[in-house]
């Protein structure tokens, strides 16, 4: 019995691990009395796996049996892998027992598709419903919505889960059809629309009465696989920005394609997952969400792909030497955020600190500005102006920064490029 549950856990955690989302933020829930659990607005990471990824939620599948045959997925029906299924009580127990020991912040429940979408969704909804209603559990729940699930089940899921997500996986309809012939684009977009509607209505109700029942208070997210199909970064990022602005998604995750089914000739042969590209996409995503960049300033028709050698913010600065140097004692917040080597935290310190007196390079360094980078892009009174980006060539600076990075990188850590 014990051996069996260990084995099941191994199979169904292993099957769920390719979902990159692990956020537990976005919901503040107090414990209403002597019951179990709270949700904290900023989320808590309870451990970090040997791959460096945060473990916040018990990320697990109800089952890895699946009727679909998607080329990029380890659980596709034509794969000969060990299969298992949990009962809803088993998942509920595991969640509660892990939670009580402070191992986790909550549950991330996903599943392979059994019989059909609604059949699977019903079983998943039962788990989250039992947690909330039978066990009075107030911790975090992220639930995956199965593509093609009915509006009613998505609605029910949203009343218990903090976050719902539907994975798009492949950024263009045409390529999705090619790699996942059983899925259709509408089947993915519809549940996203139901979730969006549910959240909108909840927000409206909330204006009228504070007691309006919650609906997915931590919003919805999705995941895009990067490098399984030939989409450019521009295609991926414009989809992401439209999801952020039109569907009001909280997060878009990018998952560097891991060649789990290398026998499938529809997929590219990769020597390793495109981790550098994935990292650059996240950086671009952050520039869009926190640094007030527009997507077309980061990628556009002239430069449809991100530079793998340097980060997108530095890349932007080197393409626009005419905007620099920026005077840290005068420039507004948005421009200060565009200085390579300055993040939102040090930008805030600069804005607050300069009210009390002129900032010098020494003070900037103490505030956490990376002067090794920033020195080429700023003036603050006493810095020599001889090596500013407007004076020296951007090409020269790019070479300089690339070499600094290469010197730090270990030999086997070299850039991983995908082979087409």
């Amino acid at each position: 019995m014990r051996q069996e549950s260990l084995e099941k856990l191994e199979i169904l955690a292993g099957a769920a691990k390719y979902d990159v989302s692990c956020a537990s933020s976005g919901t503040q829930r107090e414990n209403p009395g002597k019951t179990l659990g709270t949700a904290s607005a900023w989320g808590i990471c309870h451990s970090f796996a040997d791959d460096g990824r945060c473990i916040s939620l018990l990320k697990i599948m109800l089952t890895n049996y699946c009727i679909y045959d998607c080329a990029y997925c380890v659980n596709r029906k034509s794969n000969d892998v060990k299969r298992a299924a949990f009962s809803s009580d088993e998942i509920v127990d595991l969640t509660i027992e892990f939670y009580r020991r402070n191992y986790i912040e909550g549950l991330f429940l996903s599943s392979g598709v059994m019989k059909n979408a609604d059949y699977t969704m019903e079983r998943m909804v039962k788990v989250v419903k039992d947690l909330r209603l039978v066990h009075r559990y107030n911790g975090y729940i992220h639930m995956k919505s199965i593509p093609g699930a009915s509006a009613q089940l998505v609605r029910e899921a949203g009343t218990y889960a903090d976050r719902l997500s539907v994975n798009i996986e492949i950024s263009t309809e045409q390529n999705l059809k090619y790699l996942a012939p059983d899925k259709d684009y509408q089947g993915i977009m519809k549940p996203m629309e139901y979730i969006y509607q549910g959240i909108l209505e909840y927000k409206e109700e909330r204006q009228k009465t504070y007691k309006a029942p919650k609906f997915a208070p931590a919003g919805q997210s999705t995941q895009l696989i990067v490098g399984a199909t030939p989409e450019s970064d521009k295609q991926i990022l414009s989809l992401a920005s439209s999801l952020y602005s039109h569907n009001k998604l909280k997060r878009v995750y990018y998952s560097g394609f891991i060649p789990v089914n290398s026998y499938d000739k529809r997929l590219p042969a990769l020597s390793a997952p495109p981790i550098v590209r994935e990292h650059r996409l996240y950086q671009a995503d952050w520039l869009y969400r926190f640094y007030r960049f527009k997507m077309d300033e980061i990628v556009n028709d002239a430069n449809p792909n991100l530079d793998l050698e340097i980060d997108p913010k530095l890349s932007y600065a080197l393409k626009h030497p005419e905007l620099f140097p920026i005077d840290v004692n005068k420039a507004d917040y948005e421009m200060i955020l565009r200085i390579p080597g300055v993040g939102p935290r040090s930008a805030n310190l600069i804005i607050m600190g300069r009210k009390h007196g002129r900032l010098t390079s020494d003070k900037l360094r103490k505030m956490g500005v990376v002067m090794k980078r920033a020195q080429y892009f700023i003036t603050c009174g006493e810095l020599s102006s001889s090596n500013l980006v407007s004076e020296v060539q951007p090409e020269y600076l790019k070479k300089l920064f690339t070499e600094q990075v290469k010197a730090k990188r270990k030999p086997n850590d070299a850039l991983q490029l995908s082979l087409w």
Binding site: R2, G14, K34, G52, R53, H356
Partner: protein, 255 residues
């Protein structure tokens, strides 16, 4: 040189600040009564704790600082950080010398020092929320041992009270040899001397563990292993987020 001695309580420290301003003292050190250091030619002055004087200093701080900043003063004193008293003293000299709030004057090294130190302390408090690992005992108490560099467990007690309101728990500080016990009604400060806890890995001896406890530890270790993507192995990143000094009591990091 002047060394001021006090009882190490927060009220005691605020009383010291009160006397510094009242008598224009210029201390080079502020230490607890029990301080062992014998400094040649030092003039030692003992200062008693006076709740009224302490309250006056506290009210004055509240008037001049935002909530975050005056709480930082409390946290830094509580933390037991090296030289905390002198760092706070230099900061308060500037707070009270200025007609405007100076807490954001990060060009000033004493102000920046407070900000940085408080960030470190809050970060470690967060590490407690992250890395506490409870073990369930046969009598239903969830026990966790921690070894924080700063004295931060008091700051996170309310987080655990709210979250685990329906279970009894103990979070114990091995470095300072004291802890907190929550009995589903209230939280108490406790001192334990038990040979049932292995100080090397924080584990409770199996004869007093709840029946299913070791099984859940096994399940957790299995989960920790299974959720890792081998193709992406990155121990450097792991250590950056979960520094090695926290590993000794982490169930998933024990063989």
């Amino acid at each position: 040189m002047v060394v001021l001695l006090y009882d190490k309580t927060f009220d005691g420290f605020l009383s010291v600040i009160f006397e510094i301003f009242k008598n224009k003292l210029k201390p080079e050190r502020i230490e607890g009564f029990e301080s062992q250091e014998n400094i040649l030619f030092a003039e030692k002055i003992s200062i008693g704790t006076d709740p009224e004087k302490a309250a006056r200093v506290w009210e004055a701080l509240k008037k001049r600082l935002t909530e975050r900043a005056y709480n930082a003063v409390y946290r830094i004193h509580l933390s037991g950080a090296a030289d905390a008293e002198m760092i706070l003293y230099r900061f308060m000299l500037k707070v009270f010398a200025s007609p405007v709030n100076i807490e954001e004057n990060f060009g000033d090294p004493d102000v920046l020092r407070i900000k940085k130190l408080d960030q470190q302390i809050c970060k470690e408090a967060e590490r407690i929320r992250q890395f506490v690992r409870f073990q369930k005992t046969a009598d239903g108490i969830y026990y966790a041992l921690m070894d924080p560099q700063f004295n931060v467990i008091p700051i996170v007690v309310n987080h655990f009270e709210a979250r685990f309101a329906d279970q009894q728990w103990i979070i114990y500080d091995s470095r300072r040899n004291y802890g907190f016990y929550y009995n589903c009604e209230q939280t108490m400060v406790i001192n334990l001397s038990s040979d049932k806890v292995n100080p090397l890995n924080g584990k409770i001896s199996s004869d007093i563990l709840a029946e299913e406890e070791l099984h859940f530890q096994e399940l957790w270790k299995k989960y920790f292993k299974s959720t890792c993507i081998e193709e992406r192995r990155n121990e450097k990143l792991q250590m950056q987020h979960m520094p090695k000094k926290y590993w000794k009591y982490l169930t998933e990091k024990q063989g």
